[in-house]
């Protein structure tokens, strides 16, 4: 299984003391957090391979892994995996958004992808629209004949996604989403 990152977008969180927007972690820290979630994907899929597992079949069908990892009292990582093994991860800043987009986020690739987003007390389905939108964007990306998915494999240099359209779309998703949004 290849687990190199395809794309990461980091969104700034709103800091109530300084009243400024800034990411709550450095890019490196986010990258490590994302890599950490990969183990959860693996452990869960093994668990899900067991047909008697509770809710296993459901999760396998939708690809939604739900909450992967509550990182601390603030950040939580949610995950989604497509049938081809591409993983999307959204790291949500649970402090919510006092002003507009309080969001700490990140995405990845054949590792993981996603957007960091603010929200309090998320329900299970809350991130579904995010993953659906990310998946749509990823499908679009694959339909661009000049995008070569092979170039992203570790053997070929593990290139990241360079598409501007895809990047813009990730940004849009991360900035538009908030708890309660049902379509992106």
């Amino acid at each position: 299984m290849q687990n190199n990152p395809l794309h990461i977008t980091i969104f700034p969180s709103y800091d109530t003391t300084t009243q400024t927007y800034s990411p709550v972690r450095t890019p490196l820290q986010f990258s490590l957090l994302l890599s950490g979630t990969l183990d959860v994907f693996e452990a869960r899929s093994r668990h899900l391979a067991n047909p008697t597992a509770v809710g296993g079949a459901n999760m396998l069908l939708s690809g939604d892994f739900g909450l992967l990892h509550a990182i601390d009292d603030r950040l939580a990582a949610y995950g989604f995996e497509t049938n081809t093994g591409v993983k999307f991860v959204a790291v949500v800043d649970m402090r919510g958004r006092p002003a507009k987009n309080a969001a700490a986020g990140s995405g990845g690739g054949r590792g993981s992808s996603g957007g960091g987003i603010g929200g309090v007390g998320l329900r299970d389905n809350e991130l579904k629209p995010v993953f659906r939108a990310v998946q749509t964007a990823y499908v679009r990306l694959l339909q661009n004949p000049f995008y070569d998915p092979d170039e992203t494999t570790p053997l070929a240099g593990a290139k990241r996604i360079t598409s501007r359209k895809f990047g813009d779309e990730m940004k849009r998703i991360g900035e538009t989403w908030m708890p309660g949004v049902t379509a992106l």
Partner: protein, 195 residues
């Protein structure tokens, strides 16, 4: 100044609507075309001028065959009486039958020998982002196959034309515009008589 749309323009639109769409999955066609263009770019090592030429050539060979199908489907046994009528038929019947789009015919020259086709939508280019190598944006005409198709098809009905794109939304232009010029009507050449 473009004239009032002639009678033939509205009739052409009607004929175009009548054609039934066959069972071809659009995405399959779009992906196939995309693969061809991307592969040509690889084969010619990013020589986009060559890629344009190849696409035009492929289109030409398609056009030579496609015209027969067009004539059969459009039920027009009559020749277009002038180049304007040809342009309307192209846009409203030809593109409609094969791609279900109708580019706008406009920007005629006063001698009625040159016009533009403006593509508000271009199914071939859905989802496409040109390579970000600093050259493709200036050199590659992604949909250049269309030019060849027109050239080939019209040649089969005794019209020698020249067609090329002058703008493309893929390059960041506001419109996708193809310029088509009539060079000459090819006279029916009689085969040499046997003695």
């Amino acid at each position: 100044m473009p004239r009032e749309p002639s009678m033939s323009a509205s009739k052409a639109a009607r004929v175009g609507e009548e054609g039934r769409v066959d069972k071809v999955n659009a995405e399959l066609v779009v992906l196939t075309y995309g693969t061809i263009v991307a592969q040509l770019c690889k084969d010619f090592d990013g020589d986009y001028v060559q890629v344009n030429k190849q696409l035009d050539k492929m289109g030409y060979n398609i056009g030579l065959r496609l015209i027969e199908d067009y004539l059969a489907k459009s039920n027009t046994m009559r020749r277009c009486s002038n180049f304007r009528e040809t342009a309307d038929s192209l846009a409203k019947i030809g593109f409609k039958i094969f791609l279900n789009i109708s580019p706008t015919v406009t920007n005629w020259t006063s001698d009625n020998k040159q016009f533009s086709l403006i593509f508000e939508e271009n199914p071939l280019a859905d989802f496409v982002e040109l390579p970000d190598d600093g050259r493709a944006q200036d050199e590659l005409w992604y949909s250049n196959i269309f030019c060849g198709v027109l050239r080939g098809a019209l040649e089969m009905v005794q019209m020698q034309v020249e067609a090329h794109f002058i703008s493309d939304v893929l390059r960041g232009n506001d419109t996708t515009e193809m310029r088509v010029s009539l060079i000459r009507y090819i006279d029916d050449e009689l085969p040499p008589e046997d003695d």
